[in-house]
């Protein structure tokens, strides 16, 4: 089972997907499509509804209303068929710690119903892909984080799924392994595998073809990383490096031209309401107030800026209702 549908039809098609737990609406009328071979990032804070959405798309959880087609199959009517078409890997790299690399592969091959010849073939592929040659008989628990992560990915794609769900796949892994991992994801995408990935790392989100921002169960933004940054069109972001950042923030908040501020590491980001005021003018005001400044520059918005901005606006909108 390689790729189900060639061409234009989206591999994941979600319409007004809703899930309630009692009175609580965990996922609220979410609608999006994912094309074949696309890397689709799913961003949101903890409890925003990312995992609930993924669980519905994987056939683990029945939607309260709305529809979701995954690989052309309705997740509500045939969750088992969905499971055959997808691979899933979670942030916990869920492997059996007491089994060797090889035995883990055999087990997952077994539960996916791979026949012996196919399994041997895929086993070779996974070992090579994950760089685990020579470690076939190491217990999974003795593998370092990066290896475990790649083995978990390998186990998730043993059955050559057309669609891959990755739920925060890079937690607790060193930067080098993260980079290696993303290279594998890119390769899978090039081979036509659709990848839906949730992440907390916004630098990883930049590597996605498109991202969806989910907040309080609702889809708050959707588009390519560049598209989502359009919310800052006409609203420059200043990065202020100041000696006393907290005090600087308080002063900036008092300026009529400043819409809002936030801390980015040791720097302060200030979103301006329009382009009427120059960075220099803002810097002068801070200096006049006696705050030692290292520099004020206009920066291009990062996804983190977008993320915070979207959450602010969503909260404001919901507060207004």
């Amino acid at each position: 089972m390689a790729v189900d549908t060639a061409g234009a039809a989206p591999t994941i098609s979600v319409r007004d997907l809703t899930r309630r737990f009692g009175k609580f609406v965990a996922v609220d009328r979410v609608t999006f499509d994912v094309a074949r071979g696309e890397i689709f990032g799913f961003l949101g804070s903890n409890g925003a509804g990312k995992s609930t959405t993924i669980r519905m798309l994987c056939g683990l959880l029945v939607p309260t209303s709305g529809t979701a087609l995954v690989g052309g199959v309705d997740v509500t009517s045939d969750p088992e068929a969905v499971k055959r078409r997808i691979g899933y890997m979670s942030q916990r790299f869920s492997l059996y710690a007491l089994l060797t690399v090889d035995q883990n592969i055999r087990f997952f091959g077994g539960v996916y119903g791979l026949v012996a010849a196919k399994l041997a073939d895929r086993r070779r592929f996974v070992i090579e892909m994950a760089g685990l040659a020579g470690r076939e008989h190491t217990l999974a628990r003795d593998l370092a984080g990066g290896w475990r992560q790649r083995l978990a990915l390998g186990c998730a794609i043993l059955h050559e799924p057309a669609i891959l769900f990755l739920d925060e796949p890079t937690g607790g892994v060193d930067p080098l392994s993260r980079r290696q991992f993303w290279r594998l994801i890119d390769a899978l995408s090039h081979a036509g595998v659709t990848v839906l990935v949730t992440t907390h790392y916004l630098d990883e989100a930049e590597r996605c073809h498109r991202v969806a921002l989910i907040h309080a169960g609702r889809l708050a933004a959707l588009g390519t990383p560049a598209e989502t940054k359009q919310v800052f069109a006409g609203r420059p972001i200043l990065e202020i490096r100041a000696g006393r950042p907290v005090e600087a923030m308080r002063l900036l908040d008092a300026q009529p031209e400043v819409e809002k501020t936030s801390l980015f590491g040791t720097a302060v980001h200030a979103v301006l309401r329009d382009t009427a005021v120059t960075p220099q003018a803002i810097g002068d005001r801070l200096r006049d107030a006696g705050i030692p400044l290292d520099g004020v520059t206009t920066v291009t918005p990062s996804l983190e800026d977008v993320f915070l901005d979207v959450i602010d606006r969503e909260n404001a909108r919901q507060g207004a209702r």
Binding site: L60, I86, S94, V111, G113
Partner: protein, 369 residues
């Protein structure tokens, strides 16, 4: 079926690498057998006996010899002063004291029938009662042997009790079946519940649920290793009890395995049910303790006879599977009871097993909603 096989293989490999589980399953039963087999023993032997023989005739010495030779009493002291007797009993050097009055030898041949005194430490009422029973028997026997059989005295009506199935009244024979039930319950309930909850904790459960494997195959593959191990463990216990404690195996081995399989299936069902409710191993362990260990130990008739429990507790024992299993097991092992006579017990066990498995699968299915 191949998927169930994959789960089965994986589980066996995991168990074989998991020292803790392996120890629990293999060594704990053996340890329990030795511990309970030797320590949990209500037989009364080697009771320390102080003797105050104020008669000093061949007849009185013959009576003392009868006590010692019975094997129940060990003569630890000979005393002459009554105060010394009290002291020996006070400091627990002697658990019983035999006082033979002057003129015992004379009276036993000429009459009137002499009386001897037995002082027994009553701090353990059970033991004291049994000791008195033994002593009375010995005294009666010795008295009859010593008294001249001149045909003058009419023989008294005497009751000669004969005890079947366990003629030596060895409590071990009674306890080992209970021990088997107890051990099977431990290995089956705990290992099933923990193994599934452990998968929940490590996230592998979620991973497996994402795979196209049905609940039935997963459960079957997962429980068969524990089923087989429990059965093997039970067989080992029985063989060990036969070798070490002289447990008879009077019944049919097939009947025995049928009863054990049914009981284990019920225990696996219980473990499964616990695993659907518990999210951590700790909770699972405690739930297993409350629902299986304690009832099996206290309410099954393993240690405390059900008939002497308060009425409310007796009612509760009806839902303790070990209660039925114990009757079946004792019947098969000690009496050689054929399985067809044990149908009420087998039926009760079947109902229990079915109820547990149904409840567990209903709960598993509901997790998706």
């Amino acid at each position: 079926m191949t998927k169930a096989l994959a789960v089965y293989r994986k589980e066996l490999r995991q168990i074989s690498r998991d020292r803790r589980t392996l120890t629990t399953i293999i060594f704990v039963p053996a340890f329990f057998l030795l511990l309970y087999g030797y320590a949990l023993n209500w037989d009364i032997r080697h009771i320390t006996l102080a003797v105050q023989d104020r008669d000093g005739t061949p007849e009185s010495r013959a009576l003392v010899a009868a006590f010692v030779n019975s094997g129940y009493f060990d003569r630890v002291a000979d005393v002459y002063a009554p105060a010394e007797l009290n002291r020996l009993l006070d400091v627990d050097i002697a658990r019983a004291a035999l006082v033979i009055p002057e003129g015992f030898g004379r009276d036993i041949t000429t009459g009137p029938a002499p009386q001897v005194q037995l002082l027994v430490n009553g701090d353990n009422a059970n033991t004291a009662t049994t000791v008195m029973g033994y002593a009375a028997n010995i005294a009666r026997g010795a008295g009859a042997a010593l008294a001249p059989s001149d045909g003058m005295t009419a023989p008294l009506v005497s009751v000669e009790p004969r005890i079947w199935y366990n003629p030596e009244l060895r409590s071990t024979l009674f306890l080992v079946p209970g021990l088997i039930a107890y051990i099977l319950m431990i290995t089956a309930v705990i290992s099933t519940a923990l193994s599934i909850v452990r998968e929940k904790e490590s996230g592998t459960m979620e991973q497996v649920r994402m795979a196209p494997i049905d609940t039935f195959s997963f459960i079957v593959g997962k429980s068969i290793p524990y089923f087989l191990i429990s059965l093997a463990s039970a067989a080992l216990i029985i063989l060990a009890a036969m070798a070490l404690f002289g447990l008879p195996m009077r019944g049919n081995w097939l009947a025995l395995f049928a009863a054990m399989s049914l009981f284990i299936a019920g225990a696996l069902g219980t473990g499964l049910l616990i695993s659907t409710a518990a999210e951590t191993q700790q909770v699972a362990f405690q739930a297993a303790m409350l629902t299986s260990f304690l009832p099996t130990l206290m309410l099954s008739g393993f240690i405390f006879p059900i008939s002497s429990m308060p009425h409310a507790l007796q009612l509760i024992t009806h839902v303790v599977p070990a209660r039925y299993f114990l009757i079946a097991l004792r019947g098969i092992v000690l009496k050689g009871t054929p399985l067809r006579l044990l149908w009420p017990q087998m039926l009760a066990l079947s109902i229990y097993t079915l109820a547990m498995l149904t409840l567990a699968s209903v709960r598993l299915a509901r997790e998706k909603r």
